[in-house]
């Protein structure tokens, strides 16, 4: 039986990155939990072995149960009846298996019944789950709403809700409304405080993934008469209290197993999470950052399955007397798919390590005050995570779409039929560059790091890493890309007082940053892990990225800001 973790040795390599030692040491408070919990690790090696063994369970479930159910789930889909959702039978079987395997609440502390895993191995599990069934990754991955509960809920709320998530109850984040999609400041769902301190919610939410979940985090307007984000608070709604019904579920193009719900709140009892007015500006921002990393992992999983399906078909399919993989037109496509897959995966785990580093410090800060060094480190990694999350979500989701497209192309006419998994992969991929913020919004989040120099700092750091002799020529080429990037940034920055021009060019600059950073990451990863396949991808990706950077450089250098009018409809 296939195991989606052990059949992909790159995963274990990424798990062994040198920064992991520090992350785990901090996360395990220097391994003091082992005295209290018999499943806590006694040292770094023990912890890594735990991650390895648990990911092996994830890989086995994914390669068996979840991948086997994917097609049935896609055909069957969930249904809604009397306001309640029933999952497809395969989805239910997947959830049951994940619960029995204890794979819920993976990153939650042990005192709440979690596994106390860092974000990195958790994100790795998401990567694996997505390869098996992209839509199911949503349901399983919504466990990271518990992260937000843990960060901002009070002790009582944590103690009541988090153990339920760890035991397998599902969550949802109820943000979007008919008139508040990308613009969440316009959320209208009304929250009214009761004399007993609880709240009542009234209104409608739309496009809510897993909207019939057990525990909801809800963004609602608590401040009467306000119109912007500062009048919004976050609430916890417990399905056991009732008051929220599913009016309909959307008929979607892909990720069909994941129910997308329209919810009606009728005087639904809820409790405030955190402080009033911080719902959007603080909590949802944190929630979204976690969710974006989750979508990045989902995207990498899609790239993986797309590549594998395409590779298998290209080896099997014979035309003109040989397997089609023998033709340059086909093997180029496959090599580029693999390079995009490996590049986005390297950036995914780099980002997850950054997130791990700052989050673990934030958590420690709840127990004791941090030393100035620790505070500085937290700030540094928080900024890096903030810079890399939109990058990996934006570019990773675009790559998985490109890979899904090429996967069908390699299948030719057969790929257009419903007979192969690739058509499902293609449909499932499409949402990744839309939800949790479109690629265009990821650019908005990323562009400030172009101009404040966060990306440049990262590039400078990579440039100083020593790599094997074989990979040094690639390092030199990456350095040239940095020069081109800096020049383009300077060109755009030199045009003053023209917001539209800046916005117009932002995508190009962010892509150039991403191309360059991923080139460096692939080179350094290939060198550190002594991986032949990564070294191959590093070269292919460098060729690709270099050309992309040159293309954008050329465009930016020759573009006349006054031509912008010609682009307007």
């Amino acid at each position: 039986m296939a195991n989606f973790y052990t059949d992909n040795p790159d995963l274990k390599l990424h798990l062994s990155h040198p920064l992991m030692r520090k992350i785990v040491e901090l996360k395990e408070r220097n391994y003091t939990e082992a005295e209290k919990f018999d499943y806590a690790p006694i040292n770094y090696e023990d912890a890594l072995d735990n991650y390895d063994k648990v990911l092996e369970i994830v890989g086995e479930l994914c390669g068996g149960v979840i991948a086997d159910n994917a097609e049935g789930v896609d055909h069957e889909g969930p249904v809604v009846e009397n306001g309640r959702v029933t999952y497809a039978s395969g989805t239910q079987a997947n959830l049951d298996a994940c619960r029995k395997a204890g794979l819920m609440g993976m990153s939650m502390p042990r005192r709440f019944g979690g596994l106390n895993f860092p974000i990195t191995p958790y994100i790795m599990a998401a990567d694996i789950v997505s390869r098996a069934d992209t839509g199911f990754e949503n349901l399983w991955g919504l466990q990271d709403c518990a992260e937000t509960l843990y960060e901002f809920g009070n002790e009582d709320q944590k103690a009541r809700f988090i153990p339920r998530v760890c035991a397998g109850e599902t969550m949802s984040m109820d943000l979007t409304e008919p008139d508040a999609g990308s613009d969440l400041q316009s959320v209208m769902l009304k929250a009214t405080e009761q004399p007993d301190g609880t709240w009542r919610l009234n209104g409608v939410k739309r496009f809510i993934t897993n909207g019939d979940s057990d525990i909801h985090l809800v963004l609602a307007r608590s401040e009467d008469g306000t119109k912007d984000g500062r009048g919004l608070s976050m609430f916890i709604y417990d399905k056991r209290d009732g008051g929220v019904n599913v009016r309909r579920i959307e008929n979607k193009m892909g990720i069909k197993g994941s129910p997308t719900c329209e919810l009606v709140y009728k005087n639904a009892k809820a409790e405030l999470c955190g402080s009033r007015r911080l719902g959007l500006i603080k909590y949802v921002m944190a929630l979204m950052n976690g969710a974006r990393l989750g979508i990045a992992a989902q995207s990498v999983g899609v790239s993986e399955i797309a590549y594998r399906e395409a590779l298998a078909y290209a080896k099997d399919r014979k035309q003109f007397g040989k397997a089609i993989i023998e033709f340059p037109a086909v093997y180029e496509m496959l090599a580029v798919m693999k390079a995009k897959l490996d590049a986005s995966r390297s950036l995914l785990y780099e980002t997850s390590r950054f997130v791990d580093m700052y989050k673990v410090y934030e958590d420690i800060a709840k127990e004791r005050s941090l030393t100035p060094d620790e505070r500085a480190e937290m700030k540094k990694y928080s900024k890096l995570a903030d810079a890399c999350t939109p990058l990996v979500k934006g570019l990773g989701s675009e790559y998985c779409n490109q890979n899904a497209y090429d996967c069908i192309q390699i299948h030719g006419g057969s790929g257009f039929m419903k007979d192969y998994a690739c058509e499902r992969v293609y449909r499932d991929a499409r949402i990744t560059s839309i939800y949790e913020g479109t690629t265009q919004l990821q650019v908005v989040a990323a562009i400030r790091h172009v101009f404040t120099g966060t990306y440049k700092t990262l590039m400078d750091g990579y440039a100083e890493e020593s790599v094997s002799e074989k990979l040094q020529p690639l390092m030199a080429r990456a350095a040239k890309m940095v020069e081109a990037y800096e020049k383009a940034v300077a060109t755009v920055a030199a045009v003053k007082d023209n917001q539209a021009y800046g916005d117009f060019m932002a995508r190009r600059l962010v892509e150039m940053a991403g191309d360059t950073i991923m080139t460096y990451l692939l080179i350094t990863d290939a060198s550190r892990y002594e991986s032949e396949s990564m070294a191959k991808s590093a070269l292919v990706y460098c060729n690709l990225a270099e050309a992309e950077v040159a293309k954008h450089s050329e465009f930016i250098a020759t573009f006349n800001p006054s031509d912008l009018d010609s682009y307007k409809a």
Partner: protein, 290 residues
């Protein structure tokens, strides 16, 4: 009520992925060429045992396996999935056993274990495919047996009700406890390994595995009794040396040959005397039996 449940399991070579080197020249299995796995139908039996445990809080599930010391691997595997403890019956003198000697040895171990309410095992192991060991153990222990079990429907008042999957349909039978139930591959699949249990029990070892442990791990094992798996010898279970191992095995392998299946036709016979007699005569005539 709480139950003492024994699950009989075997570590087997994974014959589902057989290559050319699967057999040695002498007709025995080349175990080195095949990965050792938990016999699939024993996993089905384990699931039934764990369901009984779920339904009867306070019950314990103990895995009993006979084999090389490394068979402790499947005990850990069972514990990861929810079993409580395990015993490896291992001894040089047990080697080379056929089903008769195996069932005798395991029956001795079950006797030694004592105080059992129900004994579950897979229908058959994928290496020998005999399906004899479970029933023979029942005979040796003087217990009722239910074979081809697909689902344990009920267990109360000293009886177990079992759905059996037969060639011609489904049969539901009731047997008094204690009894032996052998479980079919069509029964529910075993639950997955549980993440927390894997981390909690990954250092569970048998005495012969202890020697290889690093000092800091050994310290953990010494501190936590549940990490100590049992290893029983032939002498410990008071087995008669003449009835175990090669000495106790009347089965002798005469020759072994590669067979390519060339079945051309199939016939369906019912269990009437007429048909059975006809078949026996035919098989004697073509020297298949006799």
């Amino acid at each position: 009520m709480s139950l003492n449940i024994v699950v009989l399991a075997k570590q087997v070579p994974d014959t589902r992925n057989v290559g050319k080197d699967a057999m040695k020249e002498d007709g025995t299995i080349n175990r080195a060429a095949l990965p050792a796995i938990f016999n699939p139908e024993d996993l089905n039996a384990l699931e039934q045992a764990l369901r009984l445990k779920d339904a009867n809080p306070g019950s314990t599930v103990t895995l009993l396996t006979m084999g090389l010391p490394r068979a402790a691997e499947i005990i850990r595997e069972a514990i990861y999935r929810g079993a409580d403890a395990g015993i490896v019956l291992t001894d040089r003198t047990l080697g080379g056993a056929d089903t008769l000697a195996t069932s005798y040895s395991l029956a001795q171990a079950v006797k030694k274990f004592g105080n059992y309410d129900i004994i579950l095992g897979g229908r058959q192991a994928i290496d020998g495919d005999t399906a004899q060991v479970g029933p023979q153990i029942a005979e040796k222990l003087g217990l009722p047996q239910v074979t081809y079990a697909e689902d344990i429907l009920d267990l109360k008042d000293g009886y177990v009700t079992v759905k059996r999957r037969l060639e011609s349909g489904v049969e539901t039978v009731k047997a008094p406890l204690p009894c032996v139930v052998t479980v079919n591959g069509s029964a529910a699949e075993c639950r997955p390994r549980n993440a927390r249990r894997v981390m909690r029990y990954k250092y569970a070892v048998s005495p012969s595995e202890k020697a290889k442990l690093a000092p800091e791990i050994l310290a953990i094992v010494e501190r936590r009794p549940e990490l100590n798996l049992q290893e029983w010898s032939a002498a410990y279970v008071e087995a008669d040396p003449d009835q175990i191992g090669l000495a106790g095995s009347p089965t002798k392998v005469k020759a072994i040959e590669n067979v390519v299946f060339t079945a051309k036709e199939s016939r369906c016979l019912d269990n009437s005397d007429e048909h059975i007699e006809g078949l026996i005569k035919e098989l004697i005539a073509n020297h298949t039996i006799g």
